[in-house]
Each structure stands twice: as structure tokens, then as C-alpha cells.
């Protein structure tokens, strides 16, 4: 395929594309031998998810490891996208891969590593201390189980009000026939159920 079939987009246009459209664009740029365009799209895609993946990794891995875990997850998800092995939406797949890398980390119980410092390839920083005990709770599984028990409207309320950072007023406004009082009740019940699931998980572990 020649570059004539590839239409380069501006930085601003690329930043408005969905994950899937960015991946398509990278693939097309690559096929058209326009690597610079593809690399910009790749940077936008990785940057878009970087902070969220680092924070997710940080919930269950020591500080020294989070960028390594997040980097491996992003590399794996993008590799899957180009190998045709990813399942469903990129973001959902990426979240799944992060969970796997966190599990891998705890399974291996490997020694922490240090990033190569900016000063050069052949310099090492001090070895970080290893004082973190990983939390093995499957938090995501508990949340998803609690959400699956809810009807569509109540689930929407929880996604806006409990885990979305929205106010009770926001949730009431966005879900039909929902009062702010109902939103508070649904939120309280959801959190009670979540704690039950987490305590049950703790008791069985």
C-alpha cells in the first residue's frame, strides 16, 4: 500500500479519535510507510490511558513497580491489537491485561527493579526497599459482582454516584424517575453489599 492511500491527520484531530480509531490509524500509517504519523497516534493512545493504568497498578503493587506493570500492560494490549488477539474494546482489554500483570507480579514475588536513570544506559540507581505487602483482594471482581445484582437503573445510579464521582443530584437528573433520596439509598445499599462480598472474600481466603 502506498502513502497515497493514507490521509495524515492533525494532532488535534487525532486526540479526538476513539481508541479503536487510533489503532486503525496506526495500522494504516504503518501499512502506508508513514511511521511518524503512526507514532504520534501511538503516543496519544498510550498517554490517554497511562495515568489510569499506573493508578490501578498502584492499588495492588509497590510504588517502585507500578510503571513497569502499567508499561507491560499497555505493551501487551497494543501488541494484542496488532496481532488480532484482543477481545472487545481496547479499554476493556487493557483493564483485563493490567489485572493479569498485577497477578503475575504477586505470583512471581520477584525482586523489585530500578528504572534506568536519565543519565545513561549504564548507570543504576540505588536498589529500592521492598516493604510492600500486596493486597490480594480481587476488588474488581467484588465490584462487578455487586453491580451485576442490580437492575439497569440502579446500576446506572451506582456508576454515576458511587464510583463516578457524581453528586446525588447528577444521578437523579440522569436516571428517569429517580429522586435524590433514592440515589442515597441505592448508594448505601450498594456499599453495604460490596462490604459483605469483601468480608466474605476475606473470610474464605
Amino acid at each position: 500500500m502506498g502513502s497515497h492511500s493514507f490521509q495524515e491527520r492533525s494532532e488535534s484531530e487525532l486526540s479526538d479519535l476513539s481508541d479503536e480509531d487510533l489503532i486503525d490509524y496506526i495500522r494504516t500509517a504503518r501499512a502506508a510507510d508513514v511511521p511518524r504519523a503512526g507514532n504520534l497516534a501511538l503516543a496519544i493512545l498510550v498517554f490517554a490511558h497511562w495515568d489510569n493504568m499506573v493508578a490501578r497498578a498502584r492499588l495492588r503493587t509497590p510504588r517502585e513497580e507500578v510503571e513497569d506493570v502499567a508499561g507491560q500492560a499497555l505493551e501487551g494490549a497494543i501488541q494484542s491489537a496488532f496481532d488480532g488477539e484482543s477481545v472487545g474494546q481496547f479499554r476493556s482489554w487493557l483493564n483485563t491485561i493490567v489485572d493479569r500483570r498485577v497477578v503475575d507480579f504477586h505470583r512471581k514475588q520477584r525482586v523489585s527493579t530500578t528504572r534506568i536513570p536519565d543519565g545513561g544506559d549504564d548507570e543504576w540507581g540505588e536498589e529500592p526497599s521492598i516493604d510492600f505487602e500486596g493486597d490480594t483482594v480481587d476488588a474488581r471482581r467484588a465490584i462487578e459482582a455487586a453491580l451485576e445484582e442490580l437492575g439497569e437503573d440502579h446500576r446506572r445510579v451506582v456508576e454515576i454516584y458511587v464510583v463516578g464521582g457524581g453528586s446525588a443530584r447528577d444521578a437523579a437528573a440522569q436516571v428517569e424517575s429517580m429522586s435524590e433520596a433514592n440515589v442515597h439509598q441505592i448508594g448505601s445499599r450498594f456499599r453495604r453489599r460490596l462490604r459483605e462480598l469483601l468480608e466474605g472474600d476475606e473470610a474464605s481466603s
Binding site: R36, A48, V54, R56, L59, G71, A139, L198
Partner: protein, 220 residues
């Protein structure tokens, strides 16, 4: 509002203000079931949280930049994910590149050709060396040094998604990338188009005579 709710709101507000709050610090302020609930709720928020809007300046100083650099080499190169995997394994093994090359040359019985071994290993990390040409003996030796299986290294070397993969296509990519960079030095993506891609370690001339080290790294 419970402590868990308050800490969750604190995290979300900081995150949505464009900061990068450390969830570990918030978790340290809760105990027992509260801590586990907070972990679950922050995780649920992050799974659904908005993507970060592109910011070229912030990207350059973020941890995302080296990831993109390795990925761009992997996507353009002939060595699959070696450009991301090999440096990570080397870091995990706490080996400087020079130390790794010393050990690799010794394992291959090529101490006298250490510089050549080093140049080839550099090409592997840069995605410039076609994986198909790298012999099992090299992969076995590298695997032993890096604490990984030879099969995993071989699998990682497969070109991504039917990528270029041909002999030294990646070097051609690197020259293109450098030309792009020179033409537009202010380009947002220039930060990860490393100068080292641009052919300081050219492969041996195709018509040149191969020695044992060339055969080990290029003969399959």
C-alpha cells in the same frame, strides 16, 4: 459521609483536576474492610474514568514516553517486541548492557569478537535485527543470562501483526524517522525517535563475508 466516601471523593477530585494522586497514600489512611472497600471503589472509578486529554509537553516527561519509544521500535522493527522486552529483562536482571554483552560473548565462545556481539545485541534491543536470523544458540544463551525462557524470547521476536520484518526494514524506518525529525524538530513525537535508531550500528554489508558471530546472529 464515611471515611471511605471522603477518601474516594478526595481521589476523584484530584484526578479530575488533572493531578496524578497516589492511591497508595489514600489507602494508607484506611484499615481492614475500609481499606479493601476503598481499593475496590477507586479501582472501579479508574476502570471507567475519562481518558487523559493529549498534552505533548506532559507526555515528554511522563512514564508513557519510554513505553511509546519501545512500542514504536517494536511496531516498525524486525524483532517483534524485543525492543520493549529485552531492556526490561536486562533491568530486572540488574545488568548493564556491557555486562550482558560480556556474558553473552563468553557463552557463545566469542570473547575475541565481543564488539561484534555487542553491536548485534544493540540491534536486537533496537528492533533492527531480524528475529528469524537469530540462532537458537544465541537465544538459549540470552535466556540463561536474562532469566527468561528461550521460547519466550523466540515468541517475542515474531514481528507484530505482520509488520515489516524484512531484513533491515527497521533501519530504513529509522532513517525515515530521523528525516522526519530533522524536517520538523518541534514535532510532538520527536522525543521518542531516538537518534540511536538512525543507523550508527549499520549491519554488515550484505555481500560481506560472514564469520561465526554473523552466522549466529543472522544465519538462523
Amino acid at each position: 459521609m464515611s471515611d471511605v466516601e471522603r477518601l474516594l471523593r478526595e481521589f476523584i477530585e484530584a484526578h479530575e483536576a488533572g493531578q496524578s494522586p497516589d492511591p497508595g497514600e489514600l489507602l494508607d489512611r484506611a484499615e481492614g474492610t475500609d481499606r479493601r472497600e476503598l481499593t475496590a471503589l477507586i479501582d472501579a472509578y479508574l476502570v471507567r474514568a475519562p481518558r487523559r486529554r493529549w498534552d505533548a509537553a506532559a507526555f515528554k516527561t511522563s512514564g508513557a514516553a519510554p513505553v511509546v519509544e519501545g512500542l514504536s521500535r517494536s511496531l516498525a522493527g524486525a524483532g517483534g517486541t524485543w525492543p520493549t522486552l529485552l531492556p526490561r529483562l536486562r533491568a530486572r536482571a540488574r545488568l548493564r548492557r556491557a555486562e550482558l554483552v560480556d556474558r553473552l560473548a563468553a557463552a557463545l565462545g566469542a570473547e575475541q569478537r565481543r564488539e561484534r556481539v555487542g553491536a548485534y545485541y544493540h540491534e536486537m534491543e533496537q528492533g533492527l535485527l531480524p528475529a528469524a536470523g537469530v540462532s537458537a544458540r544465541v537465544l538459549d544463551a540470552l535466556a540463561a543470562i536474562l532469566g527468561e525462557s528461550a521460547d519466550a524470547l523466540r515468541e517475542a521476536g515474531a514481528a507484530l501483526g505482520g509488520g515489516p520484518g524484512g531484513p533491515y526494514d527497521a533501519a530504513a524506518f529509522a532513517r525515515t524517522a530521523k528525516a522526519d525529525k530533522l524536517a520538523d524538530p518541534g514535532a510532538a513525537d520527536a522525543v521518542f525517535l531516538d537518534e540511536s535508531l538512525a543507523g550508527d550500528d549499520e549491519p554488515p554489508a550484505p555481500g560481506g563475508e560472514w564469520d561465526e558471530v554473523d552466522r549466529l546472529f543472522r544465519g538462523g
